[in-house]
Symmetry: C2
Subunit: 323 residues, 2 copies
């Protein structure tokens, strides 16, 4: 992805600032896991969105820098706690915090990172604190709600597409939305621009999560840096599984057999083949494209869609991602 190559100076800056947010006097037992987690280069999609959205509305990226790092720390907290709940052992190609240091440490490290995240938000320019902080905290609550729904759906059979979309709009898209909205606010955008970037972030986030769900079945472990099939193991309800249940239900022509669950498959390669054969991969990709095209149409209201438009190029790169 050449756009991420171009954005590398930002990535380096974010990476450095993440390291600087770790105070030398933190107790060793939480400092070590935090250093370990933060030193692994992640995609940094959310902080990049914050910086580029600030720029898109005519502001300077430096105005949004502290918030961008705060948003990444917030995202990292959710990953660390979610990995415990989802029993995931690998993340970004390395052991998860709870796998390496135990669940107690991972709980505490996640809690600590909420504080570190708020610290960065509190370092935003004073005039924006009162608009930015309630949004940031609202996102904390919504992301927890989304995670709760995700866990509820694991043991619930009757999950509709609307339920699923509501869940991912909280669990994933809310933070995308927040990243873009806060970037636009700190970049000095008008109320209309802020609202447009907020909606842009929401559509991008929903597209991103549906794509993520697909990659969990058809992605390559080496490229993803984590185990594929984790959703299958946890009986996660995703667009892929909902579509599968629907299609197999229709084929069998027997309403009583509905819903068929994807977890009947014990082998991931078999399931992968079935997902391609049933046209589920294509349909899912189409839905992802729909959301991303929607996001791009909103972006066009703010900036011309040119080759030099970094935000636009980043969205296109995300659309094509295989990791």
């Amino acid at each position: 992805m050449t756009i991420f190559k171009k954005l590398e100076p930002f990535l380096d800056q974010i990476q450095q600032e993440l390291q600087h947010s770790i105070k030398p006097d933190y107790p060793q037992s939480i400092k070590d896991p935090i250093v370990y987690f933060l030193e692994t280069p992640g995609k940094k999609i959310r902080p990049l969105l914050t910086l580029l959205c600030a720029e898109a509305v005519g502001g300077k990226t430096s105005d949004a820098f502290s918030a961008a790092v705060g948003i990444e720390l917030f995202h990292d907290f959710t990953l660390i706690h979610d990995d415990i709940m989802d029993r995931d052992d690998m993340r970004r190609g390395r052991f998860t915090v709870h796998k390496k240091w135990g669940e107690d440490s991972a709980i505490l490290v996640g809690d600590m990172m909420i504080g570190m995240a708020f610290e960065k938000m509190l370092a935003c320019e004073a005039q924006y604190i009162q608009s930015v902080l309630p949004l940031f905290n609202e996102a904390l609550i919504k992301v927890c709600e989304g995670q709760a729904l995700d866990k509820e759906f694991e043991i619930r059979e009757n999950v509709s597409l609307d339920d699923y979309l509501d869940m991912i709009s909280k669990k994933t898209a809310w933070l995308f939305k927040l990243s873009c909205e806060i970037g636009a606010i700190l970049g000095g955008g008008s109320a209309e621009e802020v609202e447009t970037m907020r909606q842009f972030g929401n559509l991008l986030g929903i597209g991103f999560q549906i794509q993520d769900d697909l990659l969990d079945y058809i992605g390559e472990e080496k490229t993803l840096g984590k185990k594929v099939g984790s959703d299958l193991k946890m009986h996660k309800k995703t667009y892929v599984t909902l579509l599968y249940s629907q299609k197999v239900g229709q084929q069998s022509d027997n309403a009583n057999n509905f819903p068929f669950t994807i977890s009947q498959f014990s082998s991931l390669p078999d399931l992968k083949t079935a997902l391609f054969d049933l046209g589920i991969v294509d349909e899912t990709r189409k839905l992802v494209d729909d959301y991303i095209r929607g996001a791009i149409r909103l972006l066009e209201r703010i900036q011309p869609l040119t080759e030099s438009n970094d935000l636009y190029q980043m969205v296109l790169a995300l659309q094509e991602r295989d990791y």
Copy 2:
């Protein structure tokens, strides 16, 4: 404790507001544990301190009410996550959240309550938000640091009295300090009054924790609402255990045998007898009294120590507590 009887209208108000902070649209899987946890009447020491400190500097308790509830929610978050880490099954006479709903739920419920706590802090009067929020967030970080140290000390032998005091000043006293400081700020106190109430809270908090450590060995389960001996089980380093090691070390007159650990006792009644016989109970109570007298001297700078001084009466009641 008659003072708590007198403060009952406040307790009822806090209890009601805690229930109101639970939104009807929270997902069931987190709403149920939150309702369950918040409906149990706790001591509510911290929010009462906030309200009474606002009053002590000449303000209205209503100005500090939202913050008081935020501080209680913050305290509740720490209890829920700490209970997981400390393997505690009982709290306030009922099962802990992780015992009843599992660890995953308890992690998520705790996270959610951080957001609920910040929501209350964000509802403080606008002019105070920028002074109150950084203090609140600093406390979140410090309390996590304190909990990390507490867990580190469980597996470390060479813990000094200074190490222990540093740990409890973060883990427990910081929130007492914050409760008093924020109360004084929202009550419109002068910089000097705020600083005095802050120090008052710190000394009170340290005294409270040392007393808590003692009650874990010599308290009555029924009165405490939780199992005694939990610290023993987890090899916690407390003032009681540090004093024990010191005394037994001196008696044996053999430096190589030092430190003796209190965990050599397998029976709690035996240990309890030993703690009384060795004078450890008396010495610990004396230290608690020293801290609480220090707090009272600070309070005297703000308010005369009369029978109608609710804050003073509350401190005296805490000094005598057996729960």
